[in-house]
Symmetry: C2
Subunit: 378 residues, 2 copies
Amino acid sequence: MVKFYPVKKSRWSQARLGILKTPHGEIETPCLVPVATQAVVKTLTSEEAVAAKCQALIANTYHLHQQPGEGVIKRAGGLHQFMHWDRPLMTDSGGFQVFSLGFGKDLGLNKILKKELPFRVKSGQQPKLLNITEAGVHFTSFRDGKRYFLGPKESIKVQKALGADIIFAFDECPPPHADREYLKESLARTHRWAKECLKLRPTRQMLYGIVQGGSDTSLRRESAQFISALPFNGIGIGGEFGHNKSQMKKTLDTVIAELPAHKPRHLLGVGHLEDIPLIIKAGIDTFDCTVPTHYARHGIAFTSQGRLDMAKSLWYKDKNPLDKKCACFVCRGYRRNYLTHLLRAKEITGLKLLTFHNLFFFNTLIEKIRNNIKRGYV
Amino acid sequence: MVKFYPVKKSRWSQARLGILKTPHGEIETPCLVPVATQAVVKTLTSEEAVAAKCQALIANTYHLHQQPGEGVIKRAGGLHQFMHWDRPLMTDSGGFQVFSLGFGKDLGLNKILKKELPFRVKSGQQPKLLNITEAGVHFTSFRDGKRYFLGPKESIKVQKALGADIIFAFDECPPPHADREYLKESLARTHRWAKECLKLRPTRQMLYGIVQGGSDTSLRRESAQFISALPFNGIGIGGEFGHNKSQMKKTLDTVIAELPAHKPRHLLGVGHLEDIPLIIKAGIDTFDCTVPTHYARHGIAFTSQGRLDMAKSLWYKDKNPLDKKCACFVCRGYRRNYLTHLLRAKEITGLKLLTFHNLFFFNTLIEKIRNNIKRGYV
């Protein structure tokens, strides 16, 4: 079983140091959990993910259920053996991926990201590609065109078969442009599903409940109280937090004020590098984030000089390492001119080198924050 | 400067052990030289190429001239510094790539590989996309649509700027379906170009002349004598050798009989795994080969059980390592079921793991052949 020990609490903020004990070793928190969507950190080997200081990874229930199927992974001895990763693993519930096919898709993700919300999703409304029922969600897969159904029972069943150390309850991730009535009904559904998941709780895995409620502070408080009162092993916080940093902070503070100190808290899907200090100070222990890996595959490096678009030809003349202050093997051995060449020549190795560096950079940054909490600076 | 020492000659064949000394270390021969077309072994880092036992790599003059351009690489301090590779490097002359745009393209490469040669290329004939002159070849790049010119002077100039340890004279690689008259004229051109390249020979790089002559034994003999008589540092053998293994062996034996023992011999572009023992026994010291890397990117693994198509779903059930007899990190850590999942899920990491294994497998096989020559078994 998994246990969490809060080690130290900051004097200046809600930030806290902790140790999360799992059957596959300990996670020092606060900790970034990089995404291994299809049971692999894209472009890296498991050895490289370790070398890039990754303490834990989160794989994707929705994707692995469709390919190769949880049966293949169970027969392989579970996700750890399958992907040759002997450190802690999480799986998400699949809810986010299913619901991102829904209203988000109807409206267009770009518009949502730009906060252009021309209409409100109302109570009782259904998205085009999903059929949301009280038992779960019917959806058509983009990958193989097949019809699937995922609900609390199915999600837990799949996550049990996958066998990660930490798994999540199935929740509805409501669209950011939902009206209050929709949000309330959705939250009631998420809470019912949370209880159903608990009935099926596995014995050897840690099950986290998920707080939802959109950017509505009172619904968030209600959800935090409801989920905290249930015997989950940890608390996940999902969904949309609001349109700007201060609203995000306010929602997060509201939720965390309601959470018990002895349970670990995981924030699902952090958006940006600059959010990380903010969410750690708010009291988050672990968080998953696609940014370091996703941006790398688009040629963007995170460095002590800021974000660099390494696909630009201006770097051809630059003999410097990617980041002079970074100690990773990419920065010790390779130069900007070469990385740029690899990216422009569409060489896979370029994506891999950037992915490694970005993960190392993020993990080192968070390591520093942990040290600062230890020393009482944060 | 580069030096070659034949260390031991087999009693049973023309096979020989040797040491090729370069400013970037020694190559134990016989040795496979994997291709790093765009200054990278596709999917691998330089560290991984070392770990896969690669002693030397061959980069591509034609590709690097077009992208990023030899100027970028020269300013970076040369190819070794650019690509973070401190072992020996070769560059080809670019001739093969240019001429593969020629008659081969007109006819269709598939037909050539299937030996379906409905017409013969005759003396004086020009391919559609090239203009072959006595000074070199004009061609339109498929990459950027620009018009380029490459001849002996240009090729040596580019190769000097790239700065590999071993470079090759610019030659015409005649189409496999050329008639004898075409072959004779082409060979005369290759020989004139060889002399021109020698006039421009670099001081710190080793320059190899190239023997051509197609599958015509008497032209091959003539070319071997001509190139051997010139003060090249080594001998390359290029072009087509014939339609089957016995004809290939005959052509190769004819050429090698004419070559001086003290000069290293490089065979350009070996086709198959099973050709390797044959060409080593014929007396070849080094040879470049796209097979291990190219097949890996198409999901094919070379193992002690033969070739395996790892993209097939039948491996989903197989918990064995890729090759039980292989000591590479892929075979020590990963299993067939996972490799198959990565390939089918279009994960780059799958291509990389297969590339690493295939190179390790080929290099280990050749290491064994070297040991067998040492012990007098080959």
